[in-house]
């Protein structure tokens, strides 16, 4: 084993306890920024019929280096065959990931996940530390039914 490999291994061991839970969540490669960032805030959840996810920022569109909160709400439309209780259980299991696909990193803060209220969920204390393209990804899974939705944000330079 050469010195570089030893160095990598030692560093990995040093930080493994802290980061192992997140290792699979790191973007594997840098993505190219699309010509246009779609900032639609209401989208159909992938893999479902008539389940809408809505993302909102209670204090307006977030700005660079300013703490902000997000609210994500799920709602079943008339087309949907999902029971309201099933939607609520999906909300309870929601997991959020926020990354900069162009730079293969996420946020430098750990937002606080609050208990769901109805079919809405609040994350407090997020902060964009870099201008550019950010992606919010929400996943949930109940009884082998996995749902996912992504929202994009374009944070302007100061």
């Amino acid at each position: 084993m050469n010195s570089r490999a030893r160095f990598r291994m030692a560093t990995a061991l040093t930080t493994s306890v802290a980061s192992c839970a997140w290792a699979d969540r790191l973007p594997k490669a840098l993505e190219t920024r699309p010509p246009r960032i779609d900032t639609t805030r209401e989208k159909n959840m992938e893999g479902t019929k008539g389940l809408i996810a809505a993302l909102s920022f209670p204090k307006g569109e977030p700005r660079l280096q300013k703490p902000f909160d997000v609210i994500v709400c799920l709602k079943a439309t008339q087309k949907s065959e999902m029971e309201p209780s099933f939607v609520s259980s999906l909300v309870e299991k929601i997991d959020m990931k926020v990354v900069m696909p162009e730079h293969a990193h996420g946020m430098l803060v750990a937002p606080e996940r609050q208990n769901p209220r109805g079919t809405c969920l609040v994350y407090k204390g997020l902060r964009f530390h870099m201008a550019g393209w950010w992606r919010f990804e929400f996943r949930s899974a109940v009884n082998n039914a996995e749902v996912k939705v992504t929202f994009d944000a374009d944070v302007p330079a100061p």
Binding site: F7, R8, A10, T11, A12, T14, T15, A18, S19, A21, W22, A23, R25, L26, P27, L30, Q65, P67, M100, E102, H103, A104, H105, G106, M107, L108, V109, A110, P111, E112, G125, H129, M130, A131, G132, A157, P158
Partner: protein, 363 residues
Amino acid sequence: MTPSSGLRLRNAWWPAVGILCSFPVSLPTQRLPDGGLSSEAELTFLRGIHLDAPFAARRDSPPPEGVAHGRALFHDRKFSAKGDTSCADCHRASAAFSSPRTVEARGVPSLYGAGAWRFLNADGSADSLLAQAWGPLTHPQEMGLNCTSPQGEAEKVTPRCKEFLVAVSAYVATLALPPPAPIDVFAQAVRSGTLSTLEPVLAPNALRGLRAFVTTAQCSRCHFGPYLSDGEFHNVGVPATPDEKPERAAGRAHGLVRLAKNPFRCEECDEWKRLPHGLGFTVGAFKTPPLRELLRTPPYMHNGVYQSLAAAVEHYAQAPEAVVGTSEAPRGPRGQALFSTETRDDLRAFLVSLSSVGGNDPR
């Protein structure tokens, strides 16, 4: 022509002079080589580096009292285990309060603007000037003072050390403004509309470098504001130095561990509660260094791996893979360099304009 009409004609040109004088005199402006004065992005960038711009004071800036006492202690070698080291030995005024040496594989950062940051040190292992000063005061390879109170005492830190830390922090907080650099004169002239080609402030290559800094090279995504730093943590794939211990190369991830042990950490702060303990994104990330007084503050990068500005710029032209974690440095398309050799020279010329004094950048 009647006498009255002659009078009218003779007086008719005075209003014309008045109208002409009411227009501002149009001075020749210092244009960028391709014609435009500055793009909106450049203007925004130039507005941001204004040192007099309102800049949020730190929540815990020490009071101005005791600044003179702090300055004296800053130079006092008695506050070290062997009586041979003071703060000023590493933070030299002639080197913009930094040093050409490295300590434990860390460059000595300039103290200009240190009071403005939410986190200090390259790995963010301090969240106030007080917490920062604790590190060198007690580190065995620096001042090495034993500041731990004997067991049973209410205070964990000895009163002598605490007095030193408070006074020195008060002094360091006053080192907010570096001397004005050519870029400040240029930015001021752009803001006030008095930029002139008669006495160009920046050389053409530095102007091209400014444009590349904001556009092609994407430097201004992290290097902006009065000190040209966002104060955040990024992994840009800086190579490790031979003497750099693996845990030190973990950057912010390790800095959070160190911060947890700092007796002066701000426990009530929201920032502390929301720090990402365990987030992989922080592995290998280091604080964006300020770019003020660059010529006086070599070596470059958190570990001082590059001795020259040219080498530091070259790093970003072909950003390597990260030693640990994932590098977020932008790369050129299809493995090409992000910018050309000419742009590297222009960028270097622009970086030189961020220093108040000229100097030799060893290539």
